[in-house]
């Protein structure tokens, strides 16, 4: 009951005109930053951090600046889906998995359904995670603490297991694709030994590793564009979209089919979000994998299944709220964006940690209240703008293709201000195009490069603990069951694959 009263008080503070205005502004800025390929919430928050000092000089406390930055974070999670669906370029790394089904839906004239589903799933994910955050923050903080290295690795293994099902029926090709991703993920300096690895041709650009966003924009921006030109499937024509209020209402009705994906995304995303080091991108990818894995109609994923949009979109919003939890209660950022927010809190004179809730209730509760408010604002703003986003789709491909190309270049440069990344991105795009012609799935490689850098140090740290003994993944109470489930998930499709092959051979023989 105390929690409920504190929350109500918090919401009242968040509704004060100044704070409400900042939340609206933050959501709109976030929506734009998220929709712009390459720029994600982390860029938006980092760029506007100094601006919060201006806000602070007006309002005094740390609450209003934080409400503003949190609203950007939220808005960006909504915004990322927009370019993923309409252009096929992930607006932010968190929205990569939204392209898997969002793009096919847009191409088949169902963009409005995809956009509405993304907005509503985001809202549901945000709301569910807010309730969990409000009700169980202290318990969840101790859950996050009980996750050591073997536990995180076991979870990553589980994520890889769900990927096996991601690449379609050709499992050897999927595994090959995962391996390429894992090798690319090791480029750069090794965290455990500090040694450089795979710095091809001594090019210094490789020293920071191959960045995920470079790969994602290359594959889905350039690669997808080349593919479209090559197949000429959509030719010089445009996607047919009819923008009317009636359509949007129909699309809202369609959302009932996305319940399962939304629920999976909301809970899984939140859980992955509260674990330090993971964040919204792996959360969204895992949610997509699980939604597909548990679906009765697996083959429709990747071709425009509404659950394939709802799961990652619910997950990235849910994970972004989740990532606030270790940041506030443990002082450890759960994602790159919360790392910047954490820096902000320290600069505003707060000490994040286990005592933040007790020592700074005047900061914590209005902030949590603002999560609820920003979430409502974000869904309303997003739904209102959908006709504008749809209008982009009406452009003929001859105009859209150069635009995608330019956005891919600018977006890659904007993310890290590194020209090397831009050339690499184009190369990756061309490579992805050829892989696709040879019918290799590229999504598993993209996913492997996100999880590889998280999984690898955890594996090695765990093995340092156990002096190289792999039983550490089975004997610990939390890691054990997760590892076993992951191994079963990996083996199941393999068994199915071998069985299928055996049966088809038998059938062909007589």
């Amino acid at each position: 009951m105390d929690v409920f009263i504190s929350l109500l008080d918090g919401i009242m503070v968040a509704l004060e005109p100044m704070n409400l205005g900042l939340a609206v502004l933050g959501v709109v800025v976030g929506l734009f930053v998220g929709a712009m390929p390459g720029l994600g919430s982390v860029n938006g928050v980092a760029i506007l951090l100094p601006f919060t000092f201006v806000i602070q000089s007006f309002t005094g406390g740390a609450t209003s600046p934080m409400i503003f930055l949190a609203a950007i974070y939220y808005g960006a999670m909504y915004g990322g889906a927009i370019s993923s669906i309409t252009l096929g370029i992930p607006g932010a790394s968190t929205a990569v998995s939204t392209t898997f089904d969002g793009r096919p839906m847009a191409l088949s004239g169902r963009a409005h359904i995809a956009l509405v589903a993304a907005a509503l799933a985001s809202f549901a994910g945000g709301t569910i995670s807010n309730i969990m955050f409000t009700g169980f923050a202290p318990i969840l903080a101790s859950v996050a603490l009980s996750f050591g290295d073997p536990e995180v690795f076991a979870l990553m293994l589980m994520a890889f297991a769900t990927f096996i099902g991601l690449g379609g029926d050709d499992i050897p090709k999927t595994i090959f694709s995962i391996c390429i991703g894992l090798v690319l993920a090791t480029v750069g300096f090794d965290i455990v030994s500090g040694e450089p690895r795979l710095i091809f041709f001594d090019i210094t650009g490789f020293s920071h590793g191959i960045r995920f966003l470079v790969l994602a924009i290359g594959v889905y921006g350039i690669g997808e564009m080349l593919w479209t030109i090559n197949t000429n499937r959509y030719g010089s024509s445009m996607t047919q979209v009819d923008v009317s209020a009636r359509n949007i209402i129909d699309a809202i009705k369609e959302f009932r089919h996305a319940k399962r994906g939304t629920l999976i995304g909301s809970f899984l995303g939140f859980f992955v979000g509260i674990l330090p080091a993971a964040g919204a991108t792996p959360g969204a990818l895992m949610a997509y994998g699980v939604a597909k894995l548990t679906s009765k109609d697996q083959s429709s994923f990747g071709k425009g299944n509404i659950n394939g949009i709802a799961a990652p979109e619910a997950a990235n919003n849910s994970a972004s709220t989740g990532a606030m939890l270790p940041m506030m209660t443990l002082g450890i950022p759960g994602s790159p964006t919360t790392a910047v927010l954490l820096a902000g809190m320290v600069i505003w004179g707060l000490q994040p940690g286990p005592l933040l809730f007790t020592n700074q209730p005047d900061f914590v509760w209005p902030l949590i209240g603002s999560f609820y408010i920003s979430n409502v604002i974000a869904v309303l703003v997003n739904l209102a703008f959908i006709p504008v986003f749809l209008w982009m789709l009406r452009m003929p491909f001859t105009i859209l293709a150069p635009m995608i190309f330019v956005l891919s270049l600018v977006g890659t440069y904007a993310a890290y201000l590194d020209m090397f990344d831009v050339s690499l991105m184009v190369l990756v795009g061309i490579a992805a195009f050829f892989l696709r012609i040879l019918d290799y799935p590229v999504a598993p490689a993209v996913l492997a490069i996100v999880l590889g850098p998280i999984a690898e140090p955890k594996l090695r740290q765990s093995l340092l603990f156990s002096d190289g003994d792999f039983s550490i993944f089975f004997t610990r109470p939390i890691a054990g069951p997760i590892t076993v489930i992951a191994l079963i998930l990996i083996l199941l499709p393999l068994i199915k694959f071998i069985k299928n092959k055996f049966i088809t051979k038998k059938a062909e023989q007589p």
Binding site: L145, D149, G188, F189, I191, G194, P196, L330, A343, P354
Partner: protein, 324 residues
């Protein structure tokens, strides 16, 4: 026509003259955003500090162009050192450094980094180190710690940031000096290390105060000994290792340097800029709250300090076998 031409040329030369005149008035002023390379990942001590400096510059309106922070954490700072060394425009490239400024060039001679080529803008503070354990470990003094760690042998696990970094150096010192065989596991950042100790995944750590403060205030983490010359004002009851009879102290520099090849005029400009940042009330406040030591240091004085640190780290790394 000729008149117009003459007028045009006249106007251009007048503009140029005004341009040169104003540029002689102030020897150097940044004319584009200043790249602010951070030698560590987002959210760590160096990152927080860099963003605070950026915010102070912004708030006090100290520079006509903004500082633009970029994190380059790869290879214990190697990525940042290389980026600064190869900077296209050294006059607009700054770097926030830690002790990997000394250790990484020593450990990786292949990088061909000579840290004396960097421009000595200012040492903003020296960060301190303490030894931390969980409150449930039953260990309350350094003497008890030694007994326990000795008994546990290599089952006693110490976590720290990176390989052969500051935390690793202190761990090696403790192992050698007191005949321990603690295991050292490297992590990406100090915040994560503190969390692992608080979650009882690790036995101990040598976190900076800023990284462990939250858990210290909640009582989860207990400091046993400080690796400083005098007791820290924030931890008046924690003895220094010196008091306990070992002449060892270790600090981490928090300095801003300019990319190799920075002009003297630019160096003078940035020295002035960061002197003002250092003197600002926000910086002083942060220094006190996060238990940072050390006075502002610049120019030749800073170079001499670097020389001393280079030779000290060379001795330390040779002793631990990290370099030959």
């Amino acid at each position: 026509m000729t008149f117009m031409k003459q007028l045009f040329i006249g106007l251009i030369s007048a503009t140029l003259m005004i341009g040169t005149m104003s540029s002689t008035a102030i020897a150097f002023e940044p004319d584009k955003p200043i790249e602010f390379i951070i030698m560590a990942g987002k959210g760590g001590g160096a990152d927080k500090m860099a963003r605070l400096m950026q915010a102070i510059v912004e708030k006090e309106n100290l520079s006509n162009r903004p500082l633009f922070p970029t994190n380059k954490s790869g290879g214990s700072g190697a990525e940042a050192l290389i980026a600064a060394k190869n900077a296209n425009d050294p006059d607009h490239t700054l770097m926030v450094t830690l002790n990997s400024f000394f250790t990484t060039p020593l450990r990786q001679p292949g990088l061909r980094i000579d840290n004396s080529t960097f421009a000595p803008i200012g040492r903003m503070a020296e960060d301190t180190f303490l030894l931390w354990v969980h409150k449930d470990s039953g260990v309350t003094t350094f003497a008890e710690y030694l007994t326990k760690a000795k008994a546990d042998g290599n089952k006693w696990v110490m976590g720290g940031t990176g390989r052969a970094g500051e935390d690793n150096i202190i761990t090696n010192f403790l192992n050698n000096e007191f005949g321990l065989s603690m295991k050292y596991i490297p992590y990406q950042g100090g915040g994560e290390v503190a969390k692992q100790v608080a979650g009882k995944q690790l036995n101990s750590s040598v976190n900076n105060p800023s990284e462990a403060l939250g858990f210290y205030e909640s009582g989860d983490l207990v400091p046993l000994v400080a690796f400083t010359d005098e007791r820290l004002p924030l931890f008046p009851n924690v003895p220094t290792l010196k008091e306990l009879g070992n002449d060892f102290s270790y600090f981490m520099q928090r300095a801003v340097v300019g990319a190799p090849g920075m002009s003297d005029d630019a160096l003078a400009y940035y020295t002035d800029l960061f002197t003002k940042v250092y003197q600002s009330s926000d910086w002083q406040d942060y220094k006190n709250k996060q238990s940072l030591m050390g006075e502002f240091m610049t120019g030749d004085e800073l170079r001499i300090y670097w020389d001393a640190q280079n030779s000290r780290h060379s001795v330390i790394l040779k002793a631990s076998g990290d370099i030959k």
